[in-house]
């Protein structure tokens, strides 16, 4: 308890700590942060992936051809970690189909395609005006239904963080934005400081922290000024200006800078009484609660040397990137690279039809001169620059070694899971080794391996249980046989005459055999005639029966026809066709089975011949 108290006191004192490693890349933020946030005109089509967050996608609520309004929910959150998505504009649902996803793989994901009617008619949802007196649980539910996710980059569902299971002492608002080129949070703080403050107040009401710290890097003086002005009357909110360094904006890094405490490996900030939210998320919470607006737009930085009008835009989620590039005037050079996210952690856009999603903060079109492509990978020279620069104190050079050797056990021993994929190691590497890509692929391999292990353990258990069951059934059968044999034996012993009876029966059988053997030719003839007669009789009987059935059926139909002839005949036809279908099906099945048998026979023959 004492240490927790001193934590708040220490934070209040304004002391800042430092993180290990880190780099100072050129910022290039002035390209895009000099203008107000513009609004991009409506696009003809919007592509809304049903999953834009960490967790499960929601259940579809709409069908193709349906009319939707701006902000109308398209999916419904299901059990577990789940968020809905909403229509970014009014229009008609053109299609629900796999579309290129906002993911490095571009792997198609189920996407709702909306054709805009250019009216942007708003779907009415209820805001919670009296949030000051509302319960945290109902606010949490509202924030989930509005689809609010962390807008800092990971798109983690916000409602989970606003509903912490542990006691929260400190709420940190992340306005660091440490990655080069990106200025989305910067301009949001400059022009919407009051709205952000309202969002923070809602969070304070829900999470009940003792103190709120808004952390902003010192390269954003205008944003710092605006936020300071907005919170000047609130003594539970403090603005903390931190030195510029990449990656100070990482969740665990910023906690270390502000509090001097490290979040332990494999735990979350809530475990040490801290919750962090992004500036953009605070704005989205304000819109969701006070304005009743679902998360359907966000600020996106469109920047880079190949963009003629670099700027920040309010972009509706689902807008294809090609529309952003056209709006901002992309002048593509040869082999123009397009990056979603920043230059450190972003990924190459393989298709400009890729939509803007909740986690998209930047579209970057750099020139080859300012942001050269990676050169050819050279051998590691063990210079240790990467481990000096690593903000989480890992040993990147060792992990590269084990990642190449696919030694997953060793990788876990070297705490690969703690790698935040910030890209600092790749940035400083003189051999141009794309270190972070190796770790990313190893992380996936380890995940896959674990899943496979769970599956194979399950299969093993099922196989062994089945073997046990089969063995048990076999034993039970044997026991049953034995029991009935014993019974027979006992019955024999009980009945004294039984032996004689058996002997007599055997003798009779023998005698009969002997006699038939003598008269074999004659009796065989007699038997055949006998059976022929029997068969004939049976056929006659069957025919008679069929006739009788047919007669009764016709009378039945006639009687029903007399009541309602049309319906009756229709039913008869239906029954007949159903029967016909069934017959056809059976015939087809039999044909298939026969074909298979023939094929097998032919194969066997062939094999025999070849042998």
């Amino acid at each position: 308890m004492h240490s927790e108290l001193s934590l708040i006191e220490q934070v209040k004192s304004g002391k800042l700590w430092d993180i290990p490693g880190g780099i100072h890349p050129p910022e290039r933020k002035s390209l895009s942060n000099s203008t107000k946030i513009d609004i991009i005109p409506l696009s003809p089509f919007y592509y809304v992936p049903i999953k834009q967050h960490i967790g499960n996608e929601g259940k579809l609520l709409v069908k193709v051809g349906e009319q939707v309004l701006t902000g109308q929910p398209l999916t419904d959150a299901i059990e577990g970690l789940s968020l809905p998505v909403h229509a970014p504009t009014s229009g008609v649902i053109k299609d629900i189909t796999p579309h290129v996803s906002a993911h490095p793989s571009g792997k198609p994901e189920i996407t709702i395609v909306i054709e805009s009617d250019h009216k942007d008619t708003v779907f009415t949802t209820k805001p919670i005006k009296n949030w000051q007196t509302s319960e945290a649980a109902s606010l949490t539910k509202h924030i989930q239904s509005m689809g609010v996710a962390g807008l800092g980059g990971a798109a983690f569902p916000t409602y989970v963080k606003t509903n912490p299971t542990k006691d929260i002492k400190l709420l940190i608002i992340n306005g660091v934005e440490c990655e080069p080129y990106i200025t989305a949070d910067d301009v949001l703080m400059r022009y919407f400081a009051n709205e952000i403050t309202q969002g923070i107040n809602i969070l304070q009401h829900m999470v009940q922290p003792e103190l709120v710290v808004i952390a902003i890097e010192d390269n954003k003086p205008e944003a710092i000024e605006a936020i300071k002005l907005a919170v000047k009357d609130q003594d539970t909110i403090e603005v903390r200006v931190i030195p510029t360094k990449y990656p100070s904006g990482g969740e665990k890094q910023l906690i270390e800078i502000v509090t001097g405490q490290e979040v332990p490996s494999k735990s979350i900030p809530a475990d040490i009484g801290i919750v962090m939210q992004n500036i953009g998320t605070c704005f989205a919470i304000k819109e969701a609660v006070i304005d009743g607006k679902a998360l359907i737009h966000r600020v996106v930085t469109v920047t880079g040397e190949s963009i003629s009008r670099p700027q920040n835009l309010w972009v509706k989620l689902g807008t294809p990137i090609s529309d952003l590039l056209t709006h901002c005037g992309l002048v593509a050079e040869q082999d123009q690279r397009l990056i979603m996210g920043g230059p450190m952690m972003g990924f190459n856009i393989m298709d400009t039809m890729m939509p803007v999603v909740k986690s998209t903060n930047c579209i970057l079109a750099p020139s080859e001169y300012n942001l050269p492509s990676f050169g050819v990978e050279q051998a590691c020279i063990r210079c240790s620059l990467c481990s000096d620069a690593c903000p989480v104190n890992l040993l990147p050079q060792q992990m590269l070694w084990y990642s190449k050797a696919k030694d997953h056990e060793k990788l876990e021993e070297y705490n690969l899971a703690d790698c935040i994929e910030c890209g600092v190691c790749s940035y400083v590497c003189p051999s141009q080794i794309p270190l972070v890509q190796y770790y990313r692929s190893s992380k996936v391999e380890i995940k896959q391996e674990k899943e496979d292990k769970i599956k194979s353990d399950k299969a093993k258990e099922r196989f062994e249980t089945r073997q046990l069951r089969l063995e048990r059934d076999k034993q039970a059968r044997l026991l049953k046989h034995k029991e009935s044999a014993d019974k027979r034996k006992k019955a024999l012993e009980k009945d004294g005459n039984a032996k004689d009876k058996i002997a007599a029966a055997l003798a009779r059988a023998k005698a009969k055999k002997a006699s038939t053997g003598e008269t074999a030719p004659i009796s065989a003839d007699a038997q055949t005639t006998n059976t022929q007669d029997k068969v004939a009789a049976a056929i006659a009987r069957a025919k008679a029966k069929k006739q009788a059935q047919a007669d009764s059926e016709t009378t039945a139909t006639v009687s029903s026809e007399s009541q309602d002839s049309e319906v009756g005949s229709a039913e008869a036809v239906e029954a007949k066709s159903a029967e016909q279908i069934k017959k056809d099906k059976i015939a087809a099945t039999v044909a298939r089975a026969k074909a298979k048998k023939l094929k097998q026979a032919a194969e066997n023959k062939e094999q025999g011949e070849s042998n």
Binding site: P26, P104, E377, G423, S426, S456, A593
Partner: protein, 183 residues
């Protein structure tokens, strides 16, 4: 002479005592299963497909422990062979093609309107992953299916397909995306 007898007596006494302790320990602390077989079995993919020529993964594990080749498991592929080689202290060798090729992961899929409900596939399934009863439609529980292929052959109407499983985890290609140096 006396000294010699004394020494002899002492040694015999020690032999008897330690013999008794060892004998007791061998009975009391007896390990029932062969730990090596258990270890090998844990490395095998547990598809129970029988492509190795043994009726399941455990029998093959026993065979390996008794000196059989380690390269007869196509579902496990190169990575399993490598792990087995490490465990057994032998050289890894390429997969024996007589037992099949390493393939993408698949699961069985029953075309349900063609199923006649003969239960033959249910009897063939080593992990009880097929649901159904006599004369009613059968279906495969996708999460339990190991993709062993054993149900395909017995089906009299050929209504079982082996469908490749789509990976949910996308594998990053180490060189596809480059984090660029900013000069």
């Amino acid at each position: 002479m006396y000294v010699l007898l004394f020494a002899l007596g002492a040694l015999i006494a020690l032999t008897v005592v330690f013999g008794a302790i060892l004998g007791f320990a061998s009975v009391k602390f007896k390990v029932k299963a062969d730990p090596l077989v258990e270890q090998i079995d844990n490395l095998l993919p547990q598809t129970q497909c029988g492509q190795c020529g043994y009726p399941g993964c455990k029998p093959y594990a026993e065979a390996i422990a008794n000196g059989d080749d380690i390269n007869k498991c196509p579902p496990g592929g190169e990575s399993t062979i490598k792990q087995l080689a490490d465990l057994m202290g032998v050289d890894a060798k390429p997969l024996d093609s007589a037992h099949g090729q390493e393939d993408v992961k698949k699961v069985a899929f029953i075309r349900e309107d063609e199923c006649i409900g003969c239960t033959k596939c249910i009897q063939a399934c080593p992990v009880d992953a097929i649901m159904g009863a006599s004369k009613v439609m059968h279906t495969v529980i996708i999460d339990e299916c190991t993709g062993c292929d054993l149900c395909v052959e017995p089906c009299p109407v050929d209504c079982i397909d082996m469908v490749p499983l789509t990976d949910t985890n996308w594998k990053w290609d180490a060189l596809a995306i480059s984090v660029k140096n900013i000069n």
